[in-house]
Amino acid sequence: MSDVLLEVDAIHTFIGQFHILEGVSLKVRAGSITALLGRNGAGKTTTLRSIMGLNPPRSGSIRLAGEPINGRPAYEIAQLGVGYVPEHRAIFRDLTVEENLRLAERKRGDLAKRSDFIMALFPDLKRFYRHPGGKLSGGQQQMLAIARALVADNRLLLIDEPSEGLAPIIVEQIVAALRQMAAETTILLVEQNFAMAAQLADEYYILDDGRSVQHGRMADLVHDHATIDKYLGAG
């Protein structure tokens, strides 16, 4: 269980002329849930986008199971087995739930193979299978966005703020689903809701001002109020 699946080493990423990531390094172990924590604007979303190839880093390296992937186009990185659940879900509003899922197939039959698992995790999706994604509630859209990353055989899931703007009862459902998924895959999770991250994650990394400043076991962080106040406290 201690194999490193994803290794990010000192990446620097620019958006336009802004230097957003100024040296982020992290390791995600296969089969774990790793939480990426930090205040708004610390660079968490950009880190995920850099890994995904959507904002390629200008320097530093990213390795997936030892193979360098930085500089490759996003679709190739996805094909290597990286699933992405972006901030604000980014589901296709005019496509039906079924089409949203079908689009994520990388091989014919992917969806048929994983359909039962997905529908057991998110029964709502089955009910609205032929409805356009835009007609779903926020929570259902989040479930669809997560389900979309489960259709293909992904080794690593990058999940950005799954609890954002959702009612506590929906968040609980999503926590339960993520916990079930973790048995089969590896997750790098960005989450503002510390209570949720603490429930789920095995390990954590804290970003501050575009740098990774601290990491360790989640179980230790929960009691480390000084660190929580310093890096995660509101304000």
């Binding site: 186009p73 996003a74 996805a78 296709f92 005019d94 496509l95």
Partner: protein
């Protein structure tokens, strides 16, 4: 109920406006005049649709405003006409294109990708030199010239290059393609991914080029000996195919490097309008051509006009009787072509995986990428599809409007107006916009002809011909005032 009305007020306003207009129009014109105005409007609408559909798909998916779309329409008309009336030009250039592509593909198969990156620039220079040497002194314009005869346009007696020299040129272009392909492959992603190293394609294309080369003269005779209907269908296919190939090439070579600089893209497509127009003038001459109607749409005789569409299937009259007034049967064909393409694209968008990717890409191209789909390849495909549709429209318009280097410009402008009316990026909007603009033009033309007489007027009010053209702009202004994103556009 009230809420329902509020939500659909746009639709309701549209229906009310349409009914009011219909009532006014039916009081103003006799039914048979009205019918032919409507059919004329549909004809224009169908042609506009072939331009707007591609324009709108391309804008929706890749945010590219393709100013050269009308130019592709015009080039499609020229390619189709050339095949129809004088295939010599095509037969004498097709082997060159095939040989170049064959060489280019062959370069992927050979181990060029391991050459050092420093070889890249010198190789390009060599490729250009060899290419220029291969085609030096080869003139296109004489091959394109035709003479007027009783049967329409025929190729003039123009000596073609002897087979030996022609084949030497063909092989020269194959070598050019090979060198250029090698320069392209060096240090590119193909070095990393040895995909598609299939020899069948390059060798097959080269063989085809070498087979056509000695057969150029007789092939020309064979094509011209075909009946006009077959040639017309071939012209539609060749025009659309040629346009699609040009469009794909254009996206791949000029548009793709500029996705991060959208203003440059607009300028490039605008520049292509001038380059394309001048190239066409250089090859086919600045004057216009008239393309004859194929036999299906040109019979005249005692039984004509055909009493109805079914009778036309047998007698192929040039016009069909619509409520006692003859209407050209070719225009009915254009309407049918427009409807067929509308259905075809709608089915493609709705029921195929490619269509699903396009619809998703219009909303969020980045997310489509993140699902493992190579969006760039889809861009090229959609650009080619849109260009092919425009070129098909050009061929269809050729017998109806004539062919000239300026053919595309009027369509470009009106098509932009139609796309804006319908809503940028919406396929239904593109179709509705085209239809509205077509009808507006047809009614405008009629008003110019007969003027308008409202009940309180003692004599008809007359208009200048520019009103017909301005009417579409007026509609656009009105639509934009009420719905800034266009009729079917998403709110921005």
């Amino acid at each position: 109920m009230i809420e329902w009305i509020q939500r659909r007020r746009g639709l309701i306003a549209g229906i009310v406006a349409a009914i009011l207009f219909a009532v006014w129009a039916s009081s103003q014109y006799e039914p048979r005049v009205l019918a032919s105005i409507l059919l004329s409007g549909l004809t224009l609408g169908a042609l506009y649709f072939l331009v707007t559909s591609g324009l709108s798909l391309i804008f929706g998916l890749m945010d590219v405003l393709n100013f050269a779309h009308g130019t592709l329409f015009m080039i499609g008309a020229y390619i189709g006409f050339t095949l129809y009336a004088n295939p010599r030009l095509l037969l004498n250039t097709l082997p060159f294109v095939l040989a170049f592509v064959a060489g280019w593909l062959l370069a992927r198969w050979l181990p060029f990708s391991s050459l050092p990156a420093g070889h890249r620039r010198p190789l390009w220079v060599v490729a250009v030199l060899v290419g220029v040497f291969a085609v030096w002194g080869f003139e296109l314009a004489p091959l394109a010239t035709t003479a007027l005869s009783s049967g329409g346009r025929v190729p003039t007696e123009q000596a073609q290059a002897p087979v030996g020299i022609f084949i030497a040129r063909t092989l020269g272009l194959a070598i050019t393609g090979l060198i250029a392909g090698a320069a392209f492959v060096i240090g590119s992603e193909h070095a990393r991914r040895p995909a598609n190293r299939d020899l069948a394609w390059p060798l097959g294309l080269l063989a085809l080029a070498l087979i056509i080369a000695p057969l150029r003269l007789s092939a020309e005779g064979w094509i011209l000996a075909l009946d006009s209907n077959t040639r017309f269908l071939l012209a539609l296919v060749a025009g659309a195919g040629g346009g699609a190939a040009l469009g794909g090439l254009m996206e791949w070579s000029l548009i793709r490097p500029l996705y991060s600089r959208p203003i440059y893209q607009v300028l490039v497509t605008l520049g292509l309008v001038f380059v394309g127009t001048e190239l066409v003038k250089g090859i086919w001459g600045p004057g216009g051509y008239f393309m004859e109607l194929p036999a299906w749409f040109s019979r005249r005789g005692p039984s004509c006009p055909s009493p109805n569409l079914i009778a036309w299937l047998q007698d192929n009259c040039a016009s069909i009787d619509v409520l006692g007034r003859p209407f050209p049967s070719y225009r009915i064909f254009i309407i049918a072509l427009g409807i067929a393409m509308f259905i075809g694209i709608a089915v493609l968008l709705r029921y195929t995986r490619l269509g699903m990717i396009i619809r998703a890409g219009v909303q969020d191209g980045e997310m489509v990428q993140a699902l493992g789909i190579n969006v760039r390849r889809v861009f090229t495909l959609v650009f080619a599809l849109g260009a092919g549709l425009a070129a098909l429209g050009g061929v269809a318009a050729a017998p109806f409007l004539g062919i000239s280097p300026g053919l595309g410009q009027e369509f470009q402008l009106q098509a932009f107006i139609a796309v804006v009316i319908g809503g940028m990026g919406s396929f239904t909007g593109a179709a509705m916009g085209a239809l509205l603009v077509g009808l507006a033009r047809a009614f405008g033309d009629q008003m110019v002809l007969t003027g308008i007489q409202l009940p309180w007027m003692s004599e008809a009010m007359t208009f200048s011909p520019s009103i017909a053209r301005a009417s579409t702009v007026l509609i656009m202004a009105l639509v934009l005032l009420l719905r800034p994103a266009g009729l079917f556009g998403k709110k921005e």
